[in-house]
């Protein structure tokens, strides 16, 4: 088991956002967490990535407990979060954003990884000297995924990568995510766009107000009447 979360509870101040959630991600899988706004999806990802401390529960990555570890340590283990809203550094160039993600690397490894990112996203190479602020939403999302790849993440957590993007761009980004996955990166994907997410993922979990209410293979979830009614507009 690459990533396993058991009985996770998280709160912000007085708000109990995640109520005992458990899920697992196997090496090489694409797993999605779907659910409405406020279901606790982002909170779960932020907690796994170390940005938020859990109240209780276990988080194990590659067999080691990472619950409560600080985010910059978790990254070094190979777990990379592509945060909601992309959060790229608008005052840094495309190259500098990638360079910063490779903070721990020596020059040779850094340039090898950046070349790999340029291979997936040639657009980033064209724009490498441009400031992050001047990129389109789609390019920013590519850069956010690119940064996660440079940190060396072999398990990537993605928080709403489709947010604010035109359908065609979402399609492109999801195709590249599938390719990245084929080359060995495990993906945990949080999406409001349940349709796209279930098409890409092998398995999924459905979250409602901080609880997992359904779990199963993507195809089964996509055909479940509950999921269709609530998330697929059917």
């Amino acid at each position: 088991m690459l990533l396993s979360v058991r009985d996770l509870h998280v709160s912000y101040g007085n708000i109990h956002a995640v109520h005992g959630v458990s899920f697992e991600v196997e090496e090489g899988e694409i797993v999605t967490l779907i659910g409405a706004n406020g279901a606790g999806k982002s909170t779960i990802l932020n907690t796994v990535a170390g940005l938020q401390a859990p109240d209780s529960g276990a988080i194990e990555f590659k067999g080691a407990s990472i619950a409560g570890r600080s985010a910059h340590d978790v990254v070094k283990l190979g777990l990379a979060l592509v945060p909601e809203g992309r959060r790229i550094f608008g005052n840094l160039t495309v190259y500098e954003n990638l360079r910063l993600a490779g903070f721990q690397l020596d020059a040779a490894e850094l340039s090898r990884r950046i070349e790999r990112v340029y291979g997936y996203f040639p657009r980033l190479q064209e724009r490498r000297g441009q400031l992050g602020d001047t990129l389109s939403g789609g390019e920013q999302q590519m850069l956010a995924v690119g940064r996660a790849l440079v940190t060396g993440g072999n398990c990537m957590l993605l928080d709403e990568p489709s947010m604010g993007l035109a359908p065609l761009l979402v399609q492109q980004i999801f195709e590249i995510l599938a390719e990245i996955n084929r080359e060995g990166v495990t993906i945990l994907l949080v999406e409001q766009n349940a349709h796209m997410a279930l098409k890409l993922a092998n398995r999924g979990y459905v979250l409602e107000t901080g609880n997992i209410v359904l779990a199963g293979a993507s195809r089964e979830l996509a055909q479940s009447p509950d999921v269709q009614r609530a998330y697929l507009g059917g």
Binding site: A49, G50, L51, S70, A71, H72, V75, K76, A80, L81, P83, G85, R87, I88, F89, G90, N91, L92, E96, R99, L100, A101, F103, Q104, R147, A148, T151
Partner: protein, 300 residues
């Protein structure tokens, strides 16, 4: 107009302005990464000047060695102040941190007063080369030249660190969006410490150079100079190191030339500060974010 006199004042303005600039850089860097006005920074400048005195008087170090020792120790003092006094308040209200910074300043002033007594100090004879010479009627001293050159060298060194190194990239990244920095595998605390290290050691350089130009050191010397450098940073656009440099130089120029030419039109030198700050206020009215500043965009 008397050109010789004008050029003479130009060097005075560059000297004073580059001293303000060295201090203003620390204010602006700390603000950039923490959005904190480090009101103890003027007193850190004072400590740097005094550490220079100790290094030269007690250890008998020459100028360059004393400068390096003081910059290192003062840098560590800056890091320690952040760790002990500001870090525990990282999530507290901004007001609490500002009041703490004022408290740290008082501690440094009065601590130094208790340690050294109230007699003003100065650097020993021969600490720095004080040759005077004259080029085309303009009187210069080696001290003046050293101060100006060193200030610019330190500024460009800092600029290179901020623009070219991964550490500098991390500093700029924090000033844009703290949230995502740890996701890059970068420890925020390390970068914040580095910022205080650099800012405080530049203030120490400023302190020693100030002490060689105006050789009366007192534990309260950081108050006035600190305020002025802070204002220079704001006028330049706080958070931007080019702005701090420009703001410092601008302040030096306005001060020197107000005094130099004011008396011709009946303005005595006591009017220096009201005129300086009046002009700076006008700049801020026209450009509220300062010369280099950009308004912080609210990010969604």
């Amino acid at each position: 107009m008397d050109l010789t006199f004008f050029v003479q004042q130009l060097f005075n303005a560059l000297q004073l302005g580059s001293l303000y600039a060295l201090i203003a850089l620390g204010y602006t860097m700390v603000y950039g990464v923490l959005l904190l006005i480090n009101f103890a920074h003027g007193d850190i400048f004072m400590v740097g000047a005094f550490l220079g005195v100790f290094a030269s008087m007690v250890l008998g170090l020459p100028f360059v060695a004393a400068l390096i020792v003081s910059m290192l120790l003062t840098g560590l003092l800056g890091v320690t102040i952040e760790r002990v006094a500001y870090k525990p308040l990282r999530h507290a209200s901004r007001l609490s941190v500002v009041i703490t910074a004022l408290g740290v300043g008082l501690l440094l002033e009065n601590g130094m007063l208790a340690l050294t007594g109230a007699d003003p100090r100065s650097y020993p004879e021969g600490f720095i080369n004080t040759t005077s010479f004259s080029i085309a009627g303009v009187n210069l001293t080696s001290v003046k030249i050293i101060i100006i050159v060193l200030a610019f060298v330190l500024f460009f060194g800092l600029y290179a660190i901020v623009q070219r190194t991964k550490w500098g990239m991390a500093m700029r990244a924090i000033s844009y969006d703290k949230f995502a920095v740890p996701l890059m595998g970068v420890s925020q605390n390390q970068i914040i410490s580095l910022t205080f290290l650099l800012g405080a050691s530049l203030a120490a350089a400023g302190g020693i150079l100030w002490g060689t130009a105006f050789p009366v050191l007192s534990p309260y010397m950081g108050l006035r100079v600190g305020w002025k450098a802070f204002i220079a940073a704001v006028v330049g656009g706080i958070g931007d190191i080019r702005g701090a440099m420009l703001g410092g130089l601008l302040l030096g120029f306005i001060e020197i030339y107000t005094v130099a030419y004011g008396k011709d039109i009946g303005i005595t030198s006591t009017w220096r500060d009201p005129i300086v700050f009046g002009l700076l206020l006008i700049i801020l009215v026209v450009r509220p974010t300062g010369l280099f500043g950009v308004a912080r965009r609210q990010k969604v």
